[in-house]
Amino acid sequence: MFDETLITAVLVGAIAASVPLMLAGIGELISERAGVLNIGLEGMMLMGAYGGFWVAIETESIWLGFIGGAAAGALASLVMVFLCVRWGLDQIVVGIGVLLGAEGLTSLLDAATFADTRPRIGITARLDIPGLSDIPVAGRVVFGEPYMVYVTLLAVAVAGWVLWKTPWGLAIRATGERPEAVDAAGVNVVVVRSLAVLSAGVFGGLGGAYLSLVSAGNFIPMMTGGRGFMAIVLAMLARGRPLLLAAGALLFGFATAGTTALQLVGVEVRPEIVNSLPFAVVLAALVLLGRNEFLPSALALPYVRGER
């Protein structure tokens, strides 16, 4: 029952399912660390999914597609940058606005551009690396998957390094806790937060692009299916630590892939149960561990110099 193909399938599936969560989650984590709760992440993912797919189709390049996805996500995050960071408007209202707007816009654009042709990205375009992917099990998992997996893992590592080892990371961490201190230290809070929100857009967009370019091979309206919210929850649970976030995303990935695998071998497991399981586990852990040290104290609070 636990043969090679099955294990391969589970591993590949788990990684494929966790990559978009990791990408979007990293963006959200940075944004939250800087004190901006980005409820519109799902919308940024959708923008990335559509934008990435459109660019990939137009340019016939999957890499340009990813860049396009990142740009589309960043574009959506600009709304938050201007309204929430610069003007201090309510982050939750604007975030939901971004989400709904992105849902509407991507569906509209999809209908306008792909309604007749319904293009797909073929499996050949998905960056198999000849030779290396022939190594059994490990080979397929690691090399049969596109480079994007590496990019994602790299992004996790880099995000951790930036947050803990660089002056900008220090500024981001301080901005989420006490923005007035950052301002007094001569660092522009608006700039720090704007960059953090932009990075949420970029990473959310990349996560979305991964869904359309790699996981599905085409764009479907509303295809993110709540992954943005899952990423928000993961980012909060990770307490601002990128490695914890990656671990959490993998947990979800394995849960998803595990169901599919069990169904393949004829074990009937309700996907509902499996989909709920990670949340239930996390909730149980929260109850057992108690305490709330999760969120930066200035999260979702706009900063205006001289006001408190």
Partner: protein, 400 residues
Amino acid sequence: MKASDRVRTELTDENADGRASASDRRNGKTSGPSESSRTEKIRRAMLLTILPLLAAILTGGLLILALGENPIAFYGTIIDRGIVSPSGLQETLIRMAPLLLIAAGLIVAFSAGIWNLGGDGQFLLGASLVGGLAATVSDAMPRGLMLIFMLGMSAAVGGAWTIVPALMKARYGINEIITTLMMSAIGVNLASLIVKVWFLTPERGLQIPRTRILDVSDRLPTLFGTRVHSGLVIGLVAVIAVHLMMRHTTLGLRLNVLGANVKAAHHSGLKVSKLIVVTFLLSGMFMGLAGGVEVLGVQGLVRAGFNPALTLVVVPLVFLARMNGWVTIAFVFLLSVLTIGGELATRQAGLPNDFGLLIVALVLIFMTVAEYFEARRIRGERTVWQTMSDRLLARGGAGV
């Protein structure tokens, strides 16, 4: 409480004191343009709702134009379908029923400063249990009793689904945004499971698993011979009751104090943990009731995977209405018109149905922007445009 926090609040306090007392001395009293007459109120309402609405319509219109469709025809259809045509208006009112109940649940939660964002799970659990049981129960008891029983059950289930986040918030202070979102995700899955496993109809050949259908004659009674069911009345009563409760009762004031200032709530001797749990329960009950009403009034059954995801759209509406029940009712009506009218208008224009969401998003964003300018105006600050023109003039004029 951290010592450093204490210092900060104290010292900030002192700073604020200084400014306010200085203004006292000069003006003799403190007042703003906010305390004002009827015309001022109307002007405000115009500024904060009508103007953003027009801006959203204009922006949406330009988009439609860009797509090669006729925006006037598009909006004409929305108004015709959403308000003017009798059948369309009925659809609008039908749509309002669950939205109003959700809004009532959110007013309670937000007033108490609790972000219950898990409404979808609470809604769907209420809906699916009612969907699963209503037809069977209606065999056993008269319609009126069955309806009351079912509505009560949906409320109870919705409330029960908030207990975990409520206790986690009350006992450990764990942020409810995370927990309600997670419980919602579990609830959505569980609702689907309930339909698939426990209440699956025995019929063969069904594409999508669903519950037994409730006879139309057993559903919520309709109003005045229309298709509008009495869920609308329940929704209106709920919003108004919550509105009055928040303003005139002890519980309302306690929740408002909790929402405005947790430290003051502790200081005044309020039982904060208990109030948090009560808030969650009330909020969840309205969400669950919304699900029950939707099934008993409109659907009559629940299919696996049913998830209209209504709650998230209502969140910003309630927020923009500042938890005011009457304003919320108006906003919910507006949203329903846009949704129902938008469905037909997009179809006719050959646009995807989701286009309506874009219009709603534009309305939301323009409304918050309007709030921003209004707040600045009240504080007596210059608007961005004024400041910009000042700077341009200064640059041109001074010539330093």
